[in-house]
Symmetry: C2
Subunit: 666 residues, 2 copies
């Protein structure tokens, strides 16, 4: 009697465990297959695409193979409540039980409540995506941003992310409104679909996914500036799309779903957009600024604190009504720029690895869940006309974002965005986790259900076709001589980019970058390097050297003792970047794994920060390894009839201070 | 209209974020204070005690400072249901909304539903503890177990854990039954309290906490065998207590709460105990055996897989009706013994650090939540008589566990358990996370509420008084001359144990340990070393060498290629342990931090496994550091009138193979 709730909870708990086990098994399978693909150097399908396929398979099995009838203990209450409260207190013979709203139950064809317990059980609360799975992905994106290149291209990135996304949102919204009006005219529409719904759809499918871009381009070692452009755009994109979609919801006049255009509401919505975005930005940056300089001796405490700080940024933003994901993105960027320098080397490793792991797990989970929902979601509305219209709109929206903006930006840029790279940007605009999370958040109405189903197909298409196809497409665009997919080809490409890197290095020596950059960047760089970095980190020159002499006592007070010690060996601004190539290669390990492993050991044991994040440097490191193997000359087998085998004589690698070159020692 | 659920969810989500933020802030505060304590070498209070104090403070504020009236959108339904189903489908004007049971709502004095929204919101689902917070703690305990010493003392550990916990459970149960009967007689009891409830209480308060034991004893470098005894007991304790408590619930005849003794039900309950325990054990060990030998090149995949495997062990056990926590404990022990050897060095670091972090966060979260519930839980039943009885029973139960068993065990042991150490075991039996989690799992009845409140007080008392007091108590017991708490004292203690270590080393050279051990251990050691290790890992001799020649083809087939490479440099069995001293010191960093940091660099750069986990070796490493600082003689300032300053001439540290001693290089 008294133990009834206890046993009931046990039973329900066993079911939940079994359901969660399905997802864990999915992830395990995905990991094993990823390993197999990497091991066999099979690259036609990206790992996220793979996770989706497994998800689809399990979805099919759950949908058609297993049928668990609804638990008889579920009671259907027909009560006199005219809305659905978030919490329900049920008075069961004098005792009060609390129930929380899980959501509206999907209805089948005949508007009957579906009775498949299993399908209902494997459906997650959509908020899980926003509160648990997205934050680590977005934080990792910010934390691993190559900031030097990001800030050098900040103007173009902001243009693509803000102007471009808004353009894309409205272009898609208008096209969809045309389609929806047509469908209504021919009687193809089964419910309401308003103009704001169209705009909302435009906003959610305008968010391109940084995950796949990061993965593919890291593997290919494309020109870093262009990479930063594309990656920066796709990261900020997400932030803009979230804020845009919630502004559109706020714009929707309460209780009045007409599509009349109201200037006041439009302005209000714009105000919401600005307020939420700047609030989230400020919050993220502020938390990133908080630095803990004295915890260095306790890496565990430091790592835990770092983790909690980034999580609390997210929660604080959500609690304030801002957007947690946006806050966490800027928190990641700021922490990578300042806080990272204050961490002990041990914690630097730990935080990098922790967020890498969280990102990997969350990302693969989302994509396999996506595959699963294709069959497990019970309220799909697949409308062929709408789907066709959506694909067309997404394509045109992306084109209206990239091409005109690139043309305008090229008027001002020194390093032009080539037309081939514009095509790459056009096709690398995959839709991923963010689009999915935004569309699954609310699937209550007919319009939202149709949006969700269509969005799912768009994500599938872009990840499988564009994602799988970006790799070859990219090479077609950038390097027309490319022919086969074999292993030597990758060496060839590396050499190609190596030479490109060396050439660009000769054209513009890297120490001069700050002189050739645009003046806002230069001013920011100087301010950051002379004042912010010394104030917030141990690196950079001490404030006593950079502030005017009249501020001497203040400067002495604000400079940490370590800053003086570091004065002699000032870190190069480049080397602050977090995702150095060793990390990349350990993530997407290839022929170069052993290189980086040994390279890293050298860096670690000598205590210096090692080689910087530049593409050029990476290839130098690679070449250094090759030299170590083959002697002092780098001869790489390039079986290209146009280009003869390349022989490059390399400068000896810079020896870290305080230790002799490594090979002489052994 | 249509966006109502969307907005409602947003609002509810903001509240949840704010509540979670309270806990994150608590954890952050705890971390900062822990750092301050470590930095200032203040050791009178353990960090878990600290987390509790912060929890209590926030609980007081929430209880008396903030009053958020219940949300008006909560609707109280008085429905004709005679039990509380797990899922409720509410028909709101044609739409079905799903509600999930959160639990019974606490009632205030007048059996009215309390209307404080805030207090209700900060209350977690008790299952969170079992499914999210406990598994990493228990896994970490298993993964960081010093297995050599654990297996050497396995007999005594099993005796304490199984026999001792059952004794303690029944002693406490009987004493409590006496108290409860007395209370019923004098009219002090406000509800039912059966004999099975008493036994249940005995089971949950018999679980001693490994966390605090681990922390305190690691800091003190006590004799490893005794440490293994205490730690092993407290780890297995938890497993036994969980299974015991669920067996007692199963014993309770359904619908009949009389305290009649039924032989049949007792037998059934014993069968449940054995079945659940052996099932969980088998499952944990089986998952630990699964090895992935070819993933070495991809540390990220390897770490992710390792993490998922341990989590799926937990879920699988729960889904099968076994006990996930027990399964995860044995999974941790097995993985540390076999799988750990197959991981790449990078993944070994990563997994260690990951579980260390998870353990740290989960542990501090549980303890601060404990503090919080003292004031936020709304159904406390504090009965002074019951509390007094419980404290007495816990004390007597522990005594009935330790002293008789130690006497019996000493009859068979060569390395006797001294009477002073028995006192230490008596007082180091803190109650912690597991006791709390078991008691909060069900607080529906009056008996359970009284148990929960009392358990909370017991945990508070043992953590604050015994936990804070174990350190000095331990020294009083082991080293009577000890006087002050200053810094030199710690050096003195280290020297004391250093000499103890050296002495015991001379008495029994460590290479001979397997010859002096009991024969079951010896058989197991040989079987494990010759067959299991080569089969499941890359270490150990190849099977071709250990199997009889007739099994040649089979042996060649089962031996991995790496095993042959490793043949020359067989790892010592000692060095398999995971929690080496570098890790310990980085967790509880003290004077020795720089030592271990440099020591670790040597190990890492030279590629060997480094010094083993033995107490002796640690002190040698410490001494080595001292020598590096002061010359070749170790003179430590011991200001003890009885003992003159100790001068120990140390052997030169063993140089890792393949590299010259470190100091000559620099």
């Amino acid at each position: 009697l008294d133990y009834f709730p206890f046993r009931l909870a046990e039973e329900s708990h066993r079911q939940d465990s079994a359901n969660l086990l399905i997802f864990i098994t999915l992830l395990t399978l995905t990991i094993l297959t990823i390993w197999l693909f990497k091991h066999r150097r099979f690259r036609f399908l990206h790992e996220t695409g793979l996770a989706m396929i497994y998800g689809v398979l399990v979805g099919v099995i759950l949908r058609f193979g297993v049928h668990v009838p609804q638990n008889m203990s579920d009671v259907i209450l027909g009560c006199a409540v005219n809305n659905s409260p978030a919490t329900l207190l049920v008075n069961v013979s004098g005792r009060f039980y609390e129930y929380t709203l899980k959501g509206e139950v999907g209805r089948g064809k005949g508007h009957q409540v579906q009775d498949d317990e299993m399908l209902r059980k494997v459906t997650f609360d959509p908020e899980v995506f926003f509160n648990i799975l997205l934050p680590p992905i977005i934080f990792h994106a910010g934390y691993s941003l190559k900031r030097r290149h990001f800030f050098r291209n900040i103007g173009s990135i902001l243009a693509y992310a803000f102007v471009g996304t808004v353009i894309s949102c409205f272009v898609i919204g208008l096209i969809m409104y045309g389609f929806v009006s047509f469908m209504k005219a021919v009687g193809q529409l089964g419910g309401d679909f308003f103009f704001t719904d169209c705009l909302f759809f435009g906003a959610i499918v305008s968010a391109t996914d940084p995950v796949t871009v990061l993965a593919i381009f890291n593997e290919l070692k494309v020109d870093v500036d262009l990479y930063a452009l594309l990656f920066g755009e796709s990261v900020l994109n997400d932030a803009v799309a979230i804020v845009l979609s919630s502004s559109i919801v706020a714009y929707q006049p309460a209780g009045d779903n007409s599509h009349s255009f109201e200037a006041m509401a439009m302005l209000k919505s714009f105000g919401v957009f600005l307020g939420v975005f700047s609030g989230s930005f400020a919050l993220g940056v502020a938390t990133g600024f908080m630095t803990f300089t004295k915890l260095r001796d306790f890496p565990l405490l430091e790592t835990a604190l770092f983790f909690l700080m980034s999580w609390s940024t997210f929660l604080l933003a959500e609690a304030c009504g801002f957007t947690g994901v946006v806050a966490v993105l800027f928190c990641g960027i700021t922490q990578a720029h300042y806080t990272f320098n204050n961490l002990s080397p041990d914690s630097q490793d730990r935080t990098k690895q922790l967020f890498e792991l969280l990102n990997f797990l969350a990302e693969n989970f989302i994509f396999s869940y996506m595959g699963l929902t294709l069959f497990s979601f019970q309220s799909h509305v697949f409308n062929p006309l709408f789907i066709f219209g959506a694909f067309l709109a997404v394509f045109l929206g992306r084109a209206a974002n990239i091409y005109p903006l690139s043309f305008l930006l090229n008027l001002g840029r020194k390093n032009k965005i080539g037309s081939k790279f514009q095509h790459v940007m056009m096709f690398a605009g995959l839709r991923g986790a963010m689009t999915f999370a935004l569309s699954i958040r609310d699937t209550a109405t007919y319009a939202r259900q149709m949006m969700f189903s269509t969005t799912l197909l768009i994500v599938f298409f872009t990840v499988w076709i564009c994602g799988g196809g970006t790799t070859p497409m990219l090479f077609c665009a950038l390097h027309p001589i490319y022919r086969t997919f074999n292993q030597k080809f990758y060496v060839k490409v590396t050499v190609f980019f190596f030479r490109v890197g060396v050439d660009s290095d000769q054209d513009s020596p890297r120490r001069d970058t700050k002189h050739e950059s645009a003046w806002p960047f230069r001013i920011w760089y100087n301010f950051d390097h002379n004042y912010l970095k010394p104030l917030l980190t141990h690196s950079g020159p001490p404030l006593t050297a950079t502030l005017p002499t009249c501020c001497g006592p203040l400067a002495r007070c604000l400079t940490s003792p370590q800053a003086y010690e570091n004065e002699g060996r000032l870190f190069d601004d480049d080397s602050d970047s977090i995702l150095n190539d060793a990390t990349v290669s350990s993530m997407y390990a290839d022929v170069t794994v052993s290189t980086d492993a040994s390279g890293r050991t050298v860096n670690r044991s000598s205590g210096t920060r090692g080689l910087s994040d530049d593409c050029v440097d990476h290839d130098l490191a690679l070449a250094e390894h090759e030299v170590a193997i083959r002697g002092t000359r780098l001869v790489l087998p390039v079986d290209d009839p146009v280009e003869p085998p390349t022989t490059v004589t390399l400068p000896s690698p810079p020896s870290p201070p305080g230790s002799e070159p490594r090979r002489q020692r052994l």
